[in-house]
């Protein structure tokens, strides 16, 4: 087997599957829903929390809250896109086709998140920029390298988490409930708005193992001027969380395949 077959074929398959699953299984990919979900909804959500913060506390929302809410656009887009892809794989009847293919399952699994990763990053960058301009976020001390690294890591870690959750969307066929639950958990437990130390201990622990928690702290530190070295611990923690979900999620996908082959489940 030559190098082209060994590397080129899986890469070609990965790219093809990424595009096909994005076009075929991502129902928001029509002009109005796509544009509004990518760029309008996240910005409006930042505005909603900014005005409620102003009313409730009597002070404008801090830069940290604006940055956190803007980054939620990444999790919102990736979460919605990836979870529905998994469920529609089964609902639309293409899952059995994958099971009989000779292609590498891990290529299939990871291809479900590839374009959503790019989508999420684009949405986050645009929302972050727009929110920063409108809500006057201080850019004077920003460390571009730290911010970029943190954004890329948050996207990767959250992508691994969404793929992990996608397995359950495939099993239970309830992606809307799962997506709502994940969005709620990310909003409440990762320190986007609510200070994590004010949460009950159990919820603080839950936040520790969610993606975004450590990455957001690194991102906020980057906006305050921290270097990659200074934010290194947080970045590593985010990477570790993502890696854990990547390994466990891949294992669950293989287990789903095993159940489907041996016991005929998940076909209908």
């Amino acid at each position: 087997m030559n190098l082209q077959t060994l590397v080129g074929d899986p890469l070609w398959r990965f790219g093809t599957l990424s595009v096909l699953s994005f076009r075929g299984l991502f129902m928001w990919f029509t002009p109005f829903p796509y544009v509004t979900n990518m760029f309008v909804a996240p910005f409006v959500q930042v505005g909603l929390f900014a005005v409620v913060t102003q009313f409730a506390t009597g002070r404008p929302a801090s830069d940290a809250v604006i940055i956190g809410m803007a980054v939620l656009s990444l999790t919102f887009m990736m979460n919605g896109g990836i979870l529905q892809s998994f469920q529609y794989e089964r609902d639309f009847g293409t899952f059995p086709v994958i099971l009989v293919s000779r292609g590498n399952r891990m290529v299939t699994y990871w291809s479900r998140g590839a374009l959503h990763y790019a989508d999420g990053l684009l949405s986050a960058v645009v929302t972050l920029f727009a929110a920063s301009v409108v809500f006057d976020v201080d850019f004077s001390r920003v460390n571009v390298l730290t911010v970029t690294t943190a954004l890329l890591l948050i996207g990767a870690a959250f992508g691994a988490f969404a793929l992990f959750c996608g397995n359950f969307a495939l099993i239970y066929r309830a992606w809307i409930i799962l997506a709502a639950g994940v969005n709620s958990a990310i909003l409440a437990l990762t320190g986007v708005v609510v200070a994590r130390e004010s949460l009950p201990l159990v919820l603080q622990w839950a936040g520790e193992v969610l993606p975004l928690t450590h990455g957001l702290a690194a991102l906020q530190a980057g906006f305050a001027g921290a270097t990659v070295n200074e934010a290194g611990g947080l970045l590593l923690a985010e990477a570790a969380v993502g890696l854990t979900y990547a390994l466990v999620g891949s294992g669950i996908y293989r287990w789903i395949e095993y159940r489907a082959r041996v016991r005929g489940e998940f076909h209908e």
């Binding site: 928001w28 029509t30 109005f32 509004t36 505005g47 009313f55 409730a56 004010s198």
Partner: protein, 257 residues
């Protein structure tokens, strides 16, 4: 028109039973609890009892409206996709009344979850609630409920006419919450948004609710109630016209496409 009350009540019961499922309750609760909790936490930070009260009553309306918009938005589309729209259209009762019965059921059902969210805000807020004038509060809540129903109901025909696209509501819901003033006064919005908000019946109703909680006299609230009810009537009439368009479209082309 004699059969309208029966059609309304039958549609109400049908939709209530359809909503009273574990997955539906789970979806609404997990989808709303975080945003309600975060608003309550912010109110606790401020520590002002009138703000906590405003947010507590506001989230009841917000939860009902937000949940209903999503479900009602796909009522006609869902009926069309599942083939029951033809049956509803064969009935002599206009679609407007059938869908209104379902809308009322959605609000009643999600209202129960809204009341639970009220309790959550009061508990997290930690300073109780203050009610300036109970009569004004009840009247303002009724007006706000009518306004919220009208503003959710309009999405049933609108989504159908817009082609029933998935993901249609994700930008509309937070925008509707901001412009309706469910969790903050309209007065703190930028000028252009205030103008847009004034076109919605909910913004006038929530302003009356806020003023009523602060003990404003009835005479001050009457104009706000009046404008809200008039705008609600306008939105209902708009909905009725759109339902006529929906029926016409189905009869002409056989579907929403």
């Amino acid at each position: 028109m004699r059969n309208v009350p029966r059609a309304l009540s039958a549609a109400f019961v049908q939709h209530w039973l359809d909503s009273a499922r574990l997955d539906e309750v789970t979806y609404v609760v997990v989808g709303q609890i975080a945003i309600v909790g975060v608003f309550a936490w912010l109110a606790r930070l401020g520590g002002q009892v009138d703000v906590i009260s405003t947010i507590a009553f506001g989230v009841v309306l917000m939860v009902m409206w937000r949940s209903s918009v999503f479900r009602l938005g796909f009522l006609v589309v869902g009926a069309n996709n599942q083939g029951t729209l033809e049956i509803e259209m064969m009935s002599r009762t206009p679609m407007f009344w059938i869908m209104l019965g379902k809308t009322l059921a959605a609000f009643a059902f999600y209202g129960l979850i809204g009341i639970a969210c009220f309790v959550v805000v009061v508990l997290i807020g930690g300073a109780g609630v203050v009610i300036g004038d109970p009569v004004a509060l009840v009247a303002s809540l009724v007006v706000a409920l009518i306004a919220s129903i009208s503003l959710a109901y309009v999405f049933a025909p609108l989504t159908f006419l817009a082609g029933g696209q998935a993901g249609f509501f994700n930008a509309i819901m937070p925008l509707g919450i901001v412009l309706s003033g469910f969790a903050q006064p309209i007065a703190i919005l930028p000028g252009a948004l205030q103008i847009a908000a004034r076109a919605l019946p909910t913004s006038w109703a929530t302003e009356a609710l806020l003023n009523g909680l602060r003990g404003a006299p009835i005479a001050e609230l009457l104009p706000l109630w009046g404008v809200s009810l008039l705008l609600s009537l306008g939105v209902f009439l708009l909905s009725a016209w759109m339902f006529v368009r929906c029926e016409a479209r189905v009869r002409e082309v056989g579907s929403s496409q």
